[in-house]
């Protein structure tokens, strides 16, 4: 089983996960925002329901700015680990640039033990830069902070006793990094932006890639994935040993028109606050097209989209963001229900591979 190191069994078909950025935004349909406490509790509840529906994974991201509430994402993941039994617990993503890799590893190895071997890390570089100032880092080191700390994280994952020296952290001399994960190591992924150059960096480091996709045709998002696999090959690696995951907007309702109508205000109003400008309605309308990676629509159309994406990308995991912009919990529940009853069985059935 080639993806074993990453705990992926592709004979069971495409893995399906949920992810949240932990945004804390008002529901634009009623112009109201729940308390941060309720938002956190609902994220944990979402994970429990996802597990019951047979969803493979839940992940939580960290954003250190206004309109977010999971700054301490590993703490939230720990609570999810305790509240669940089977579902994989991951980050989306962990900003390794502004964290100490030793502490990150300690946290996630602990979550791995609490969860019985279900923890993973997805390391990212942050799309916003406020946290550099907040946590005492220089933005001029943006690239190198990530690369150096990510390399250290990978080294800690391989070696229990670490000797390391670098620019952005005190040297480690025979440092014993504990606890160790349940099965020796953690799956560690690299979050990748929309460009081939970004994906190629994951290949150079020999780590699996996680691709975020906001909107647009699947063929465009295939380019970074192709570049990733080609680069692995040029380095003498076997691309079939490196899983690829994609992440994007998801919203299911009885009809596609209803899904667009319900979800658009959440995305548009939410992005105005988190990104400084809304989501163009024209682009959102195009999102309903089969070949567009935005998985918004009726369950049947979403199934067709995900299968088309799978055919295009041959990826091993897809994670869905359905809670952005103050989506009320009853709609989240409804989405999970539609995934569990309709979408997941069809996707699994059509993507499962016969064991060799």
């Amino acid at each position: 089983m080639s993806f074993e190191q990453y705990r992926i069994d592709d004979s069971k078909g495409l893995e399906f996960g949920l992810y949240t950025l932990g945004d804390h935004l008002k529901n634009p349909h009623i112009d109201k925002r729940i308390s941060p406490q309720q938002r956190l509790q609902e994220i944990i509840e979402m994970a429990k329901l996802a597990e019951e529906a047979g969803i493979d994974l839940i992940s939580v991201g960290e954003s250190h700015q206004d309109h977010f509430t999971t700054q301490a994402h590993s703490v939230v993941l720990s609570a999810i680990a305790q509240a669940t039994e089977k579902i994989k617990v991951s980050s989306s993503s962990t900003i390794i640039s502004t964290s100490d890799p030793v502490r990150v590893y300690e946290d996630f190895a602990t979550i791995d033990l609490i969860s019985g071997g279900r923890a993973e890390i997805v390391a990212g570089r942050a799309s916003r830069v406020g946290l550099f100032e907040l946590l005492g880092y220089d933005l001029h080191d943006y690239e190198e902070l990530f690369e150096e700390k990510f390399e250290l994280l990978l080294q800690i994952n391989k070696e229990e006793v670490v000797n390391w020296e670098g620019e952005f952290r005190q040297p480690l001399r025979d440092a014993h990094i504990l606890p160790r994960p349940l099965n020796g190591s953690l799956p560690i992924w690299r979050a990748v932006g929309g460009t081939p150059a970004s994906a190629m960096k994951a290949a150079y480091q020999g780590v699996p890639m996680y691709q975020a996709m906001l909107g647009g045709p699947a063929s465009v998002f295939k380019r970074p994935i192709d570049a990733y696999r080609e680069t692995l090959e040029s380095l003498g690696q076997d691309p079939s040993e490196f899983p690829v995951a994609t992440a994007g907007f998801f919203y299911a309702a009885d009809t596609t028109q209803q899904a667009l109508k319900e979800y658009y205000p959440h995305i548009n109003e939410g992005m105005k606050l988190t990104n400084g400008r809304g989501f163009p309605k024209q682009a959102f309308a195009q999102g309903a097209h089969l070949k567009n990676i935005m998985n918004v629509g009726s369950p049947q159309e979403i199934i067709e989209k995900i299968l088309y994406q799978h055919e295009t990308f041959n990826h091993q995991r897809y994670i869905a963001q359905m809670d952005f912009g103050g989506v009320p919990f009853d709609k989240i529940m409804r989405n999970i229900e539609l995934i569990g009853n309709d979408i997941l069985p069809a996707v699994k059935k059509h993507t499962a591979k016969a064991k060799a």
Partner: protein, 188 residues
Amino acid sequence: MNITLLSGSTIGSKTRTAMNYTKDIIERNYPEHEVTLLDLADFELVFSDGRDFREYKGDTKVVTETIMESDIILIGTPIFQASIPGSLKNVFDLLPQDGLRDKTAGILVTAGSAKHYLIAETQLKPILAYMKAQIVQTYTFMEERDFYRKEIVNEDAVFRIERLVEDTMVLAETYKEARRIKEEQYGF
């Protein structure tokens, strides 16, 4: 609608003078709209380092946020070394990739020589198009001889500014209405 006049140079007086006239014309003919004049000579901006525009501080934040909150941007620019000034280019660099989406942009050029007439056409319009602005096709081009001691002395130049303002308002209002009709058709 929010109208921002951006005087794109940190030095000289012609562009600012032309923008003052532009502001007067708008206030006289379109009193129902909000007009803000940003003269880059009055601000100390940092160079773009790629961060989100809202994460800058001080003057830089004021300028980027004012532009992002505008429906209409009238850009006044001199021509330096056969191009737009670096100060103006920096403003574009500070903004998001598609930062001018759904915004209408008009152009007013003040130049030392008629040889610079096509600079806005070949260098400024492509930037605005890349940033997704609705561009007013015809721009106003003025020269040194149109000015005397911070006044416009060529009557025709004032008429041209009046036409630029009118063209910009017509395009902005038409686009806004056309977009409203189109978005209603999406049904969500």
